[in-house]
């Protein structure tokens, strides 16, 4: 019998080693794997390359800066131009203690999808004529230029869904989908935090957002309430 459930977030992270590249699903408060992030903080893993849409915006990823667990981050939103109180990540970035690769959000998810779908890259107009094109190949197709953006994958993906079964099928809730389904396809080990574990068949086959084939570990947790206030 296939059984991918783990007893705790800490158990599910047992083999996350220093230097790992880790994707984190979630968009601000929606679909964010907060329990897995807190377990990663407890674990103390260092030299992490993190990949997430945002850090320091109502997510808990900023806690990984408390003991400098991050070496690099790939994100679409990490540094604010406003005068708002700085996140720990922003402070460490300003001091040159952590590297940042800033990616347009559509390119970000499409690069992850490309890695999961076996594609060689993404050909997009987004970023042409901006700082985002620096160092990248431009390919002309029928007279129009496109940036070649490379697939983005990770050792681990930490994702969040609403419900799961022991076979790893996941059902999402509202805007909690966001980057979770794409990230589930693009990492060697995919760990899903969910609010409920149900029997196979209880998730309507029409409502499975991520088929079990993509998920390696499932852990049930009470959600951690998070929110961003501008």
């Amino acid at each position: 019998m296939i059984d991918k459930t783990f007893a705790s977030p800490d158990d599910a992270l047992h083999d996350v080693a220093d230097g790992a590249t880790i994707m984190f699903g979630g968009f601000v408060s929606a679909g964010t794997p907060s329990n897995l992030i807190l377990a990663l903080q407890r674990r103390g893993t260092r030299g992490i390359t993190g990949i997430a849409n945002n850090i320091g915006l109502g997510d808990l990823l900023d806690v990984l800066c408390e003991k400098r667990q991050l070496a690099k981050f790939v994100a679409t939103f990490a540094i604010r131009a406003s005068g708002a109180r700085k996140s720990l990540f922003e402070e460490q970035y300003a001091r040159g203690e952590v590297a940042l690769e800033l990616v347009p959000q559509g390119t970000f998810v499409e690069r992850i999808r490309a890695a999961g779908a076996g594609l060689g890259g993404v050909l997009t107009r987004t970023g042409l004529g901006t700082m985002a094109e620096e160092g990248k190949r431009i390919i002309n197709i029928d007279g129009a230029d496109y940036l070649l953006e490379l697939p983005l994958r990770a050792d681990f993906a930490f994702i969040k869904a609403h419900r799961a079964d022991r076979m790893g099928n996941l059902a999402y809730r509202m805007a909690g989908r966001n980057f979770n389904p794409a990230m589930a396809t693009a990492a060697d080990v995919v760990i899903a935090e969910v609010e409920q574990v149900v029997e196979p068949g209880e998730i309507d086959p029409e409502s499975v957002g991520t088929p079990g084939v993509y998920v390696d570990r499932v852990v049930r947790c009470d959600p951690v309430p998070v929110r961003w206030y501008g």
């Binding site: 939103f77 990490a78 540094i79 800033l102 990616v103 901006t130 509202m174 794409a182 961003w228 501008g230």
Partner: protein, 218 residues
């Protein structure tokens, strides 16, 4: 003091929207547009985090999974749908969003937009801005006409790093409505209490005057 409030800028932008349009509202001033939509018209608001058809911002019963791209709690209208980020940006980049309303730091006379990075603060983030600027069928920039230090934001060339070149179709500020045309910027409307010379004096780029130049109808 001449010039529209932020709310009136949003109101003027809302006048550009028609029933059936799919509209993405950027963080900040553009978000206010949702309060001024033409009553009774079915306009579909798209949020990058994967919602089409959201409604008013509501602080009641905060649900972490039901937010707009600025993290604010929203309501749902009948006919709404959810989808993941790959589908959301396929929608944006594939030309299926009719209008993107974006904030701006600078717009150039050929419609280049800079709205994501402030060199003097050494900061900025891209989010969905580059995708929206490239992918939406029509890009409306809503911003104050000048920066806090009175430096014009509408310039011959942008000094700040670009979000996308030649992407802006319409600029709505506290002072004016300006169309970006192939031949340059066309001043079509001025705010109440303001004339074309007043606007030009606060604009680095050269403005041509529309034969139909008029005061904004608010």
């Amino acid at each position: 003091m001449a010039g529209l409030s932020r709310e009136l800028i949003a109101l003027r932008v809302a006048r550009e929207l028609r029933e059936g349009m799919v509209v993405n509202l950027g963080i900040g001033l553009p978000t206010l547009v949702s309060s001024f939509l033409p009553p009774g018209a079915e306009i579909l608001l798209q949020a990058e985090d994967g919602i089409l058809g959201y409604g008013a911002i509501s602080e009641q019963d905060f649900d972490p999974d039901l937010i707009n791209a600025g993290g604010q709690p929203v309501t749902l209208l009948p006919g709404a749908s959810f989808f993941d980020s790959a589908a959301s940006f396929a929608m944006i980049r594939g030309g299926h969003v009719d209008v993107a309303v974006l904030g701006g730091l600078e717009v150039s006379e050929r419609g280049d937009l800079a709205n994501w990075y402030l060199p003097e603060r050494g900061g900025g983030s891209i989010g969905g801005a580059m995708d929206l600027a490239c992918g939406a069928r029509r890009v409306i920039v809503a911003m104050t006409h000048t920066a806090r230090d009175e430096r014009p934001r509408i310039r011959r060339r942008c000094a700040y790093p670009l979000t996308a070149p030649a992407c802006v179709d319409l600029i709505v500020t506290d002072l004016a409505v300006i169309e970006v045309r192939p031949e340059g910027l066309l001043l079509t409307e001025v705010a109440p209490g303001v004339d074309a010379a007043f606007v030009q004096a606060r604009t680095e780029a050269e403005l041509r005057l529309s034969p139909g130049l008029r005061q904004m109808d608010l």
